[in-house]
Subunit: 301 residues, 2 copies
DNA sequence: AAAAAAATGCAACAACTGTTTTACCGATGC
DNA sequence: GCATCGGTAAAACAGTTGTTGCATTTTTTT
């Protein structure tokens, strides 16, 4: 019996709700409910009239069933079934996005955003993405030098990747010189080097131009971008994709930063000893330079 | 490249079909197609008009997209997407296999890192943190001007916050001038302004000095940092904490970035209309400046 | 610079949606 | 017997759907 209850809950609260009140229903309602129980997803996928036809029931009976179960109407009922489908694959980012008009700005935004971000990063764990991350890390390891390119919104990701890598050695060169000199370091790039390009929609023209120029010089392009139809995909040797959707007006770059940190981690783990060595050296240098402190410094007068 | 094709096929023949002919599409068709690629199941779950609204496209464009891809009409298109949902749940063998592979591959560093990051962000949903985020957003809203300070590893977070905020207006000033001038803009700061300081252990001395100087000028300090015993906590009016542990040699800044994005989201939601207005203006400016593109530009000879 | 073609927005259309109302049916109670 | 009531079917309803043709803009070609 406990197993039975568990199964009910596993199938979702909608099933439970229907089964619970099944005995109170009239004959027609039961027939409708029986059909819904056996084809839950059809509720979201076809129109009510078609569903009622398949169930051998009048359309109005479906509306009555929905209201009987405590929904405001059949559309409410269908909405819940659609959510079940969404949650199974997507987390619930899409739903939160949809109701942003109804729920208004208010209290829940911070919560919804964080939940969404967590789900998005969790979805990056798909074996597909993991595999891509690993092969990209391999390529980065083999490269003689890594040119890092990310402009505008992607600057933060590019710079962070570069910064962490500088702690590990001198393998990366960040392409964001001032006064339009960003691309200049590519002058000395060879075919042993790679360009790590980061860009999201809308794609910065300058990034695309630089990447294309690099490709024509025979430099392999590795792209971190947001879509299979990103322009970078067409010219890149390897691609890692990340989501950017958020519940706000803006795109999120948190998943992108996560990707870049994972790459740093993989690169460091390919040569643990060397990485530790370099880190120690950096540490020594920075403390000699008096870069850090652990308390608010006394004011020099 | 072969691996890439395989991924396409895994996502289903519909994805492949769209990606295949993506380049031939007109601008609007591409925008619609891009949305469909990112939300395949929504095609089956919501009406065409709603989908077109979410994609930022005319209803007719969706019909045109469907026909362009060789379907008899949009309803045909939707039908195929519904079938994808149906077979995915009925024949769940593939899905189970995937999960299995993922669990078995649990050894991988990439997998562990992403799981960890997801959990850390999820932990930020605690009501405590949410409350701190909200009150900090309130203070940021009330401030006349926001000076943003984050050096070294925290540069990415500070810059990203500043960048997003520039899309919303001129409220923020980023303190990272070259040649040691980072603190100079504080010259014109008043007690109506606030300093948003971001720092993690080891704490950059320069950040602490600048923050202390600002505090002595009567500027309120808002801190985003990693610990209750961070030096910033002692001088800050309000604090938001985030975790930085990771499975690598380095600290992670992904949770920090998430926090900063949530703050941006909250600030924008405090004045939805105004934010939308500013975003439109920024959009117009950037497209006038020819900043963005959606395909690899032709080489100028 | 003019003409042709393609792409896009807009508005009207019939068909269909979910809902509500109305009318009918059969059982139950007085 | 007839009045009453819950249950069901049928029809009417307003709103929305996907589609289409047309006018306008943008791009390309001549």
């Amino acid at each position: 019996m406990a197993a039975y209850v568990r199964q009910m809950l596993q199938k979702g609260p909608l099933h439970a709700r229907i089964i619970e009140r099944f005995d109170e229903m009239s004959e027609q309602l039961q027939q409708a409910a029986r059909h819904v129980l056996e084809h839950p997803q059809e509720v979201a996928l076809v129109s009510m009239r078609e569903l009622s036809r398949n169930a051998g029931v009048q359309p109005s009976t479906m509306t009555r069933l929905a209201k009987f179960l405590g929904f405001t109407g059949y559309e409410d009922f269908r909405g819940h079934h659609a959510d079940v489908i969404r949650v199974r694959t997507d987390g619930f980012a899409a739903r939160a996005l949809q109701e942003d008009e109804g729920a208004g700005n208010g209290e829940g935004l911070a919560f919804r955003m964080l939940q969404g971000l967590s789900a998005q990063i969790s979805r990056l764990c798909e074996p597909d993405t993991i595999r891509h991350l690993n092969t990209m890390a391999d390529h980065l390891t083999k490269a003689r030098r890594i040119y890092v390119l990310g402009l505008r919104s992607c600057h933060s990701v590019a710079w962070h990747f570069h910064y962490v890598m500088t702690l590990l050695g001198e393998k990366t060169i960040h392409l964001d010189g001032p006064a339009g000199t960003s691309g200049d370091p590519l002058i000395r790039a060879t075919h042993e080097d790679v360009l790590l390009a980061i860009s999201i929609n809308p794609y910065s023209l300058q990034t695309l131009e630089l990447a294309e120029a690099a490709r024509e010089k025979g430099i392999a392009i590795l792209a971190i971008t947001d879509s299979e139809v990103s322009p970078l995909v067409t010219i890149a040797e390897h691609v890692v994709l990340f989501p950017t959707e958020s519940q706000t007006f803006f795109h999120t770059l948190t998943p992108a930063l996560a990707v870049s940190e994972v790459l740093c981690g993989l690169l460091a783990s390919h040569d643990r000893a060397g990485a530790l060595e370099e880190l120690k050296r950096a540490d020594k240098h920075l403390s000699a330079m008096n870069t850090y402190a652990t308390s608010i410094p006394r004011r020099k007068i």
